[in-house]
Amino acid sequence: MFGYYLDLALRSLRRNPALTGLMVLAIAFGVGASMTTYSVFRAVSGDPIPWKSSRLFVPQIDLFGPTAAAKTSNEPQDLVSYKDALAITRAHRAHFQSAMYNIAPSIDPASPGSRPREVMGHAVQWEFFPMVDAPFVYGHAWSADEDAAHAKVAVISSRLNDRQFKGEDSTGREIILDGKPYRIVGVLDHFTPEPLFYDVANRNFGEPDDVFLPFATAIDAQSTNTGNYNCARSPLEEGFSGTLTAECAWIAVMVQLDSTADATAYRQWLDGYTDGQRQAGRFSWASNNRLRNLPAWLDFKQVAPPDTKVSLLVALGLLVVCMVNTIGLMLAKFMRRSGEIGVRRALGASRLQIAVQFTVEAAVLGFTGGLLGVAMTWIGMTAMRAVLPEDIAALARMDGSLLSLTLCMAVLATVVAGLYPTLRATWVRPALQLKSN
């Protein structure tokens, strides 16, 4: 019977190509615009590490105090001072923890004759790698001992490995960063999280990290922090060494806490730490700490640009208009066939059979609109790449799930739009006359 309805639907749609075309285009535009903006929204608002994001936390400490001019709200700073970073990681109260900061050293070329280039990276502690589940293609993370010994080792990205070592196993070999040699202990396997969730206070989308150095080693080498650096008052001492003693926020910290109880205990410990700092005379204000898990942190930092949300909402509005348009046109199309409906009813079609016939017609219309909508989405995404900031636009991808979602959405939206016209079709009474007019 479904085949029969399908056949009837195709006949009906062919009979009125202009009206059908109008409806298909409206559906395609609505779905295409929605899916284009959705593809961007999905890319920027997705969970970069869904299997454990709720167990990753970012501790924040109020370094500046409630009256500091540098503050616009009572939120503590996104980053912590070197002193607090060391205190947090040395206390070792979480399952994993790492202090980290943004570096951009120059790297000597693999072959003589080429020029050195700049690479993005982070100085981290060994626990960083198991904490963020970084996959290795060669080697492994450096050890706790190497961390403690300020070893001159490095973990590099597969991208850098391809460029410097043609993709071979480079563990044990050396790279020269800012003029100093580092021994490669591990090569990551396409670790390019979007956003760069472990340090969204500094970077979110765009270039992934190519090098990771031990935190203590980078500090020894005075590797410049290329991320944010915020001070409530000027450091007492100038230069890199001054940043280590300054009450300035520039180090990101992430910790892994495996249960709610652990998180609660950690919060208490953090408050205890800052209370102790106050008693020691360092802070003159009450503890004002935060411990957000990763989803809450990404939300708080507005990692997904509000523009992408506004765009998605506006596009969904467009879809609603297109669907209202489709309801009107479908109503006209179905009502034009009230004579046929009356005869079918007279010949024994039940209301349900009429409803199924017209719902199938709506679904076929939606599917056709969806196919065109996929094309529109593709065009839309290509256009978005041309006009949006590269780091955002590059994330929007057409994949199987987006494709099937586009089709499902088109069919579903059209079937919903067809509910009222179909209902009206079932109201047509069985009739002896094919009424003209």
Binding site: A26, V321, E390, R424, S436, N437
Partner: protein
């Protein structure tokens, strides 16, 4: 023309009329807000930075492997910078150049606070700092409205983490007005943060935009200061003015000259050398993208709605062929029939836009709460109303014209 018969007729196909009205209402509501977003973004993009952007470009360099801490390291880096600057300024295509931390719109911000007393926690307005020297005003094409330029001897080497506490300062007019609403900032003493040494304001430039266009810095986007300092650090940016018409040549010549001085340096491939037009495009790319996207949405919306009106009007005309024939037979002129359908459309559209205007403000109110958008001006809604009424009439015209050409003989056909 009497409205009553049209209303009576509309009640016979009220579902269709309601749907078209609803579509027009939604279209108006969305188009008004989208247009509002577009104009907001275009205004934002169009703000002049205050500098002469033509023929201006920047070259960012990085030099790894050199120590940066301590006086000796700083002196060594400062010597490198002077060598670089001499090499750049000697190029025939270069008009002027200086070294700095950042440029307007370059998206790397140094900010601080200017207090009028040395007193600890009392701080004044926020400001964005640009490092510069006696060449800065000329290179950027800034307009000095009061006071004087820096003297070469006032410009000191400055490392990344050095304290910004200059003896002299040139500030923007917006910052001067914020500090001294009564005017006359020249010669006044300010303090860069608590317990800083005194800084004297020696000049005021007309307008100078800060280096970031991000929302958090919007409140002090025009409150900028130029610090007499040569940025002598392992990474730095050269701001260079090419001779008129020689921008492309200079953008090629400068990196070559810099590599000739020191082949070990890094000039990033993708954004190391950028014209100011390039810097501007990067800064406002998201705004431009948003404006284009909203524009596309508006075009699609209006097209779909126009097509919907054409479709449904045509259907109604087809449905009423006989009725129109009877009217014609009873003496209605073509003009009467045309007017009838146009009036019917006008009635639906006016109903739609009235509802749509309310929806436009409701959506705007919601966006204001959720996304900190500004309040929608009534002008957008009025413009939208006019546009949709014109669109409705234009869309209904072809079907109405076809209706007016239905011959009276149609009355006799069944």
């Amino acid at each position: 023309m009497a409205i009553t018969p049209i209303i009576v007729a509309l009640r016979r196909h009220k579902a269709g009329a309601l749907l078209i009205g609803l579509q027009i209402a939604l279209t108006l509501a969305i188009v008004c807000n989208a247009l509002f977003i577009i104009t907001t973004r275009i205004e934002r993009i169009g703000r002049p930075t205050g500098i002469d952007e033509a023929n201006l470009f920047k070259v960012s360099v990085q030099r790894g492997g050199l120590p940066s801490d301590g006086e000796a390291a700083k002196a060594r880096l400062d010597a490198d910078v002077r060598t670089d600057l001499a090499a750049i300024r000697a190029l025939p295509d270069v008009a002027d150049a200086y070294v700095t931390n950042t440029l307007p719109l370059a998206n790397s911000n140094w900010t601080g606070w200017l207090g009028q007393t040395p007193d600890g926690d009392k701080v004044g307005p926020s400001t964005a700092f640009f490092l510069g020297d006696e060449h800065t005003l000329a290179t950027l094409g800034l307009h000095l409205v009061e006071g004087r330029n820096f003297r070469p001897e006032e410009v000191l080497p400055h490392s990344l983490r050095d304290r910004v506490a200059p003896a002299q300062l040139i500030i923007s007019k917006a910052l001067a007005q914020k500090l001294y609403p009564d005017g006359d900032a020249i010669g006044k003493t300010v303090y860069v943060g608590p317990s800083a040494p005194p800084t004297r304001i020696i000049g005021v430039v007309d307008r100078l935009q800060s280096s970031t266009v991000q929302a958090w810095a919007e409140s002090f986007a025009w409150q900028t200061s130029i610090v007499p300092a040569r940025f002598s650090f392992t990474y730095r940016t050269y701001a260079i003015r090419a001779r008129p018409g020689r921008l492309d040549a200079a953008m090629k010549a400068v990196p070559d000259a810099l590599y000739a001085v020191d082949p070990q340096r890094v000039i990033p491939e993708d954004d190391g050398v950028l014209s100011f037009a390039g810097i501007r495009a990067r800064a406002y790319r998201a705004d431009r993208g948003m404006a284009i996207l909203m524009g596309a949405v508006c075009v699609i919306l209006l097209t779909v709605t126009a097509a919907g009106v054409v479709g449904l009007s045509s259907f109604w005309v087809g449905q009423r062929r006989r009725q129109i024939g009877i009217r014609r037979a009873l003496g209605a002129t073509r003009r009467n029939i045309l007017n009838y359908f146009l009036a019917e459309n006008a009635l639906i559209t006016v109903g739609g836009v009235l509802v749509g205007a309310l929806m436009a403000f409701a959506i705007n109110a919601w966006l204001m709460v959720q996304f900190e958008l500004a309040r929608l001006s009534v002008n957008y809604v009025l413009a939208g109303i006019v546009a949709l009424i014109v669109l409705g009439q234009a869309s209904a015209f072809a079907p109405a014209l076809r209706a007016s050409h239905i011959p009276p003989v149609e009355a006799t056909r069944s």
